[in-house]
C-alpha cells in the first residue's frame, strides 16, 4: 500500500471505493439502530467514510468490515455526547412512543408474503430500538450485520467474553419485551 501518494491519488480513492463502498448498507443499518434518526444516520455514515478515507493509508487489513464499523461507532458515540450536551434531544430519554417508525423503502404495493414479513420486521425493529446500549449495539452487530464475536469485539474494543455476556443480556431483554408485546394475543 503506497504511503507516499497524496490524498488526491485517484488510485487510492479507487481502492478505497472498492474496499469500503460495498459496506454502505451495513454501515447505514448500524447507524440507524444506534442513532434512531434517519438524517443523523446519514450524516454519521458520511462522516465515517470521510474519516475512513483519511486514515485509509494506515489501514493494514485484513478485515475492513470491523475497522469501518469501529469508525462509525466512534462517530455515533460522538453524536451521543453532542446530544447529551444539548438540552433538546437525549438519546436515552426518548420515550418509546416517540420513537419514529422505521422508514420503509418498499412501495405500498407488495405481495402478501412480504407484507407479513414486513409487519414482523417493523415490530422487531421497534423492540430492538428500545434496547438499551451497549446491548442494542451488540445485538445489531450480531443479528443484523452478521458479524462474528471476534469482529464485534474488535468493533467495540472489548474482549470476546464481554461480547458474549452482552449478547446474552440483549437476547434475554429482547425476548422478554417480545413476549410482553405478544401478550394480548396469547
Amino acid at each position: 500500500m503506497p504511503l507516499t501518494k497524496s490524498d488526491n491519488d485517484p488510485e487510492r480513492a479507487r481502492r478505497f471505493r472498492e474496499a469500503a463502498m460495498p459496506y454502505l448498507d451495513d454501515l447505514y443499518t448500524l447507524a440507524r439502530y444506534l442513532l434512531r434518526d434517519p438524517a443523523d444516520a446519514e450524516d454519521a455514515v458520511q462522516e465515517c467514510y470521510l474519516r475512513a478515507f483519511k486514515h485509509f493509508h494506515t489501514y493494514r487489513g485484513p478485515a475492513i468490515k470491523p475497522w469501518l464499523f469501529a469508525i462509525l461507532r466512534n462517530v455515533c458515540y460522538a453524536e451521543f455526547s453532542r446530544r447529551a450536551g444539548s438540552p433538546t434531544k437525549t438519546i436515552d430519554d426518548v420515550p418509546e412512543a416517540a420513537v419514529q417508525p422505521p422508514i420503509w423503502q418498499e412501495p405500498p404495493e407488495t405481495p402478501e408474503s412480504t407484507m407479513l414479513r414486513e409487519r414482523d420486521a417493523s415490530m422487531i425493529r421497534r423492540l430492538v430500538d428500545a434496547l438499551a446500549e451497549p446491548f442494542r449495539e451488540t445485538f445489531v452487530l450480531r443479528e443484523i450485520n452478521n458479524l462474528s464475536y471476534r469482529e464485534i469485539a474488535e468493533t467495540a474494543g472489548v474482549p470476546v467474553g464481554t461480547v458474549m455476556s452482552r449478547l446474552a443480556r440483549a437476547r434475554a431483554m429482547l425476548r422478554a419485551a417480545w413476549m410482553a408485546a405478544e401478550e394480548p394475543t396469547q
Binding site: 491519488d9 454502505l24 448498507d25 405481495p111
Partner: protein, 254 residues
C-alpha cells in the same frame, strides 16, 4: 457445567461460535436440564425469526451520491473511471477514440473490469438472502419498486412464457454505483440482468464472454447498458438476451 454458564454459552452454540468440545458440553448440559433446553429452543426460534425478518436498512441513493462526491478521483480523473457512464459513453467515447490506440486500450480495460465486477455481483447475489430485494413474478410489482432508488428505472419484462421466469429485483452495486438487477430463473439456474444508464443511445451489438466460468452477455439499447450473467450455457444465455431484446422492441412499438 452450571446453568449460569450454559445460559451464556448457549448463545455461542446458536451462533456457531463454539468449538466442538464446548459445543458437546453445552449440548450435554441442555440434554439433562429442561429449563436450559427450553431457553435454547426459545432463543433458537427467536434468532430464526430475527434472521428471516430482514431488519437491514438500505442506504438512500442521495447518501451514496454525497459520499461519492466527497471522495477524490471521480472528478479529478474522469477518463478511466467513468465506465458505466463510460463503456459506451457516446461523445466522450468518440473523444477517446480520437486519441487513437490508447483510447481503445483503455476502454477495453474498463469493459473487462466492469464485466468482472458484474460477475462478482452475480456471485454475491447467490449467497443466502442476497438474491432478491423485491420478490415477485409480476413485472408490474418489480418495476415500480425500482422507482426512486435509481436514476433510471430498468425495463422489467416477464419472460415466463418464453422459458425464463421473472423472480424479482434487487439493487446492486457495480463500479461504485448503485444499479438495478432484474432476476430470472431458468430451471435451477439464476440469471441476473444488470441494467445501467449510459449516455449513448445507439444500439450496441450483443457480445458474449466467459469470466470465471460464468457466461456474460452484454448489449446496449436506448440509453441503457445490459449485462446478463448466469451459469447456464452461452447458447441459452443468448436465447435469453434475444428474447429480452425482442420483447423490449415489441414494448416500444406496442
Amino acid at each position: 457445567m452450571t446453568c449460569d454458564e450454559a445460559e451464556i454459552l448457549l448463545h455461542a452454540l446458536i451462533d456457531g461460535e463454539l468449538d466442538a468440545g464446548h459445543a458437546r458440553e453445552v449440548e450435554a448440559h441442555v440434554a439433562a436440564c429442561p429449563r436450559c433446553a427450553d431457553r435454547l429452543a426459545a432463543y433458537r426460534q427467536m434468532s430464526a425469526m430475527v434472521a428471516s425478518a430482514d431488519l437491514k436498512f438500505i442506504a438512500p441513493p442521495q447518501l451514496r451520491r454525497r459520499i461519492e462526491a466527497s471522495l477524490p478521483a471521480q472528478a479529478a480523473a474522469p477518463s478511466r473511471r467513468s465506465v458505466l457512464k463510460g463503456f459506451a459513453m457516446g461523445s466522450a467515447v468518440s473523444a477517446l477514440a480520437a486519441t487513437g490506440l490508447v483510447g481503445i486500450v483503455i476502454s477495453k480495460d474498463d469493459r473487462q473490469r466492469i464485466e468482472s465486477e458484474v460477475v462478482s455481483a452475480h456471485l454475491r447475489s447467490l449467497q443466502a438472502g442476497h438474491l432478491i430485494d423485491v420478490v415477485s413474478s409480476d413485472q408490474h410489482t418489480v418495476k415500480p419498486w425500482f422507482n426512486g432508488k435509481l436514476d433510471v428505472s430498468p425495463p422489467v419484462i416477464d419472460l415466463t412464457a418464453q422459458g425464463f421466469t421473472l423472480i424479482g429485483g434487487r439493487l446492486d452495486y457495480v463500479d461504485a454505483r448503485a444499479i438495478g438487477a432484474v432476476v430470472y430463473r431458468r430451471r435451477q439456474h439464476v440469471i441476473n440482468l444488470f441494467v445501467a444508464q449510459t449516455a449513448n443511445s445507439e444500439r450496441l451489438r450483443a457480445k458474449t464472454d466467459t469470466i470465471q466460468g460464468f457466461n456474460i452477455r452484454r448489449w446496449g439499447e436506448r440509453g441503457l447498458n445490459f449485462w446478463a450473467v448466469s451459469d447456464i450455457g452461452a447458447d441459452e444465455l443468448n436465447e435469453f438476451g434475444e428474447k429480452f431484446e425482442t420483447a423490449m422492441a415489441a414494448n416500444k412499438e406496442g
